[in-house]
Subunit: 140 residues, 2 copies
DNA sequence: AAACTAGTTGCAAAGAGTTGCACAAACCAT
DNA sequence: ATGGTTTGTGCAACTCTTTGCAACTAGTTT
């Protein structure tokens, strides 16, 4: 796993410290197959290190987002979900009626991204978006 | 104002009741010039009717959203903002570095909307979106 | 006008996420 | 190794929003 090494160096390069808590949180995120929540990460880490606090999980996720190592998305469940950035970018269409989720390739938003960059010089962060609306069935 | 009448009928048609609380909350939203928050609506209504509860405000906003009478947006302040749907749709580019907000016309997302409809038969709700990223200055 | 019924409200408690602060620990320099 | 500097952590309190429940009331029927 030279991924871990990348992360370690990315942290120390920028003056962040490599703490046991951060390493455990990172491996919890990598071990999760799919989108994880802060609570799930907390539970997994707490199994081995009960002293950990949930606010440390939130603060670490904040940091990993800033470093571009995890992406976050709100699928409308009342809680945010995360996954490793290196597992490929994609988006989700979420039906507000029946809850169906359609997965979308990153490319669907690439023309929007470049339009915003050209017209507004705005560099939009369009990784891992959730777009709400109605699926075919629920559109009546 | 036959707008009010529209709302009254929109409520009763679907079996919802027209309560004093709902009327006060509605007029509080209409009286606000710009994006309002639940707390601001609550404060305004409570000035005349101190018995009102903030959860009623949240529930009413939920209902008005469902009826398409207000739109909601999260500008990243840790609280959601609302405004009347009939005040025109638009979007916002929010710089996560400096907080600058650029207003966007509705049309910027219309080609995305039709692409999602064609390719996925998904009717996306793209009213009043906030797109995060970095403005020119903060893009270095 | 009185009763009925289903939607609505207030209240209290809970959930998700954030923040200030004092103490702890990682990293760097000696 | 030792000490100092600065970042990070645990904890508790707090903010925003949601939810279960019992009491209430708008709109309808008799
Ligand atoms: Mn995803
Ligand atoms: Mn707006
Ligand atoms: Zn659906
Ligand atoms: Zn900026």
């Amino acid at each position: 796993m030279n991924q871990s090494r990348d992360i370690v160096s990315k942290l120390s390069e920028r003056g962040y410290r490599l703490t046991p808590q951060r390493m455990m949180i990172l491996s919890a995120i990598k071990n999760s197959n799919d989108h994880t929540s802060a609570e799930e990460i907390y539970t997994q880490v707490a199994a081995k290190y009960p002293h950990i606090n949930i606010s440390t999980v939130y603060r670490t996720l904040e940091l990993l987002k800033k470093l571009g190592l995890v992406t976050e998305t709100n699928l409308g469940e009342g809680r945010v979900r995360y996954h490793p950035a290196d597992k490929g970018h994609h988006h989700h269409l979420v039906c507000q009626e029946c809850g169906t989720i359609i997965d979308l390739d990153e490319s669907v938003l690439s023309s929007l991204k470049s339009a915003l960059l050209q017209e507004y010089k705005f560099s939009a962060d369009l990784r891992h978006l959730a777009i709400f609306g109605r699926c075919v069935k629920c559109s009546k």
